[in-house]
Amino acid sequence: MAQNTATADNFDTVIRAEYERTDIGDAKLEDVQRKLPLSETLWNSSAFRKTLILLALAIIWQIYGVWLDNPMIFPTLTDTLGALWANIVNGTIPTRLIATLKVLVVGYVIGVILATIFTTIAVSSRIGTDLLSTLTAMFNPLPAIALLPLALLWFGLGTPSLVFVIVNSVLWAVALNMHTGFLTVSDTMRMAGQTFGLRGMRYVVQLLIPAAFPAILAGLKIGWAFAWRTLIAAELVFGVSSGQGGLGWFIFENRNLLDTPAVFAGLLTVMSVGLFVEGVIFRFIENRTVRKWGMQRG
């Protein structure tokens, strides 16, 4: 903050003429459209920038892989892509991926629905809030492996158990973010909703959820990532029967077979799905919601 240099003494007010324009026409919008140079247009595209980043990461990978020269531990990108291609062509990765995604989506959807129910209960009463925060604090830190015996007991081996652990990993993260989102909705907006007669479920669905949408989306993204993490880990523990395994099993299998490029091909698939979900699905949702509504920048 610059101190004002002009003091009362050293400047004089210049009295300028008044004027009035009576002839202002309509503003012509085409006059002010500017064309951007191609380079800038490209740079403005987030897809282009992300492609550049991915390329850079790929080059780093390749260089590090070649330099390390230890394909058992860290194969080069080209080796990995070779293995990826081979496993895509022979149909292994596609089938495994689909198997995994099925479980993943089911678990994720159930987790999100449960999270919504929990947070709805939590916002509608104080005891509900306490229940949610207690349960979250208790179960959120529990690893899938701790739930394994119970999952086996309740659901046996196979998909239902996997779904159960995924739900556990999604539920608390999403609920926590959702609840925080709800709690930070401004009082004015809450009050506005209530004067319309919104109450109970409608209040949550038609007011709190959209108002807390940026936080909810962040929770959904985290939940999605953790569903992946858990599933890959859980498939190892729960195993598979005759060929119905998913991508996690594929990774484990190839690790046992010491086929490191195939392991990395599996991981690359996980990453690609992550990128797809983030860059296409979530991006689409964001563009249609929080960005369009001006609730989130960027």
């Binding site: 058992m72 531990i73 394994l148 081996l157 729960f238 195993g239 077979l257």
Partner: protein
Amino acid sequence: ASAEDVTIGTGYGIGFLPLHILDAKDLIEARAKEAGLDLTPTYQRISGSAAMQDAVISGSVDLGAYGVPAILIGWDKTRGKIVGVAGVNASPLTLLTNREGVTDLKGFAETDRIAMPSLVSPQMYALQKESEAEFGEGQQDKLRQQVVALPHPEALNSITAGATEVNSYFAAPPFTQIALKNPKVHAVIDSNKIWGGQSTFLAFAAKTDFLEENPKVADVVIAALDDAAKLIRENPEEAADIYLAAEPSKLMTKEDLVAFLRENADDFGPEVHGVQAYADFMARHGGLSKAPANWQEVFTSAALKGREGS
């Protein structure tokens, strides 16, 4: 699960070859038909012994193959509600190292790290037994601080690449064989030497409830395991093919496998070895509340009673 479909827990490694053969050749179905049963086994791959044990206890798996010490602990803790059914594999477990000149446990320095899959694996007890033998009574845990739990692939990578402080590895086949292809790696000792003879590494376990409800299943499985062992002994090429179909390893060629199977044909079969030795050792050091009177107390099947075992 009803007698009609029985779930069998299996895993990765040459130790599980008999189970791969049972699956590929439908041996259990065949033996069941002879016994007048209509059995459909489902083979469920599970990654480790801890998970396998949970699966057995919770009834998700009817017959699970895992390490004998873990089975003994289960038998002990459940007061006999979990029992062994039959041996699966008795291949030797080998302590490998990439440190030159190490020929016995005394050669290990304090900074050396020995990898093995878990702390209740057969490898752990073999190491304890050998420690006791080399360092004297009460010294069984001398190297325990240096043991790290690491999955087989990482352990193998560690000693062959030599990039980490894990320079020793108590391996099981086929990882033993793969590791030994590396000139830097050599064997220190194996379990046959430690226990003074063959010892079962993998065995089937089940809940007594299941065995009582399905009295014929144990016999059927034992008979089928006999068939599998016979196939391995008589036709190692076919066995190798079955193995490679189940676990398409790039590091083990068919020739390697056939050679291995020829050399270790006796490792397979439902007979159990060294159970009593494990049990006595574990009971002595507090791992079991009491040792069984004899191995038949743990492996209860009538079909095994007449056979040799230890």
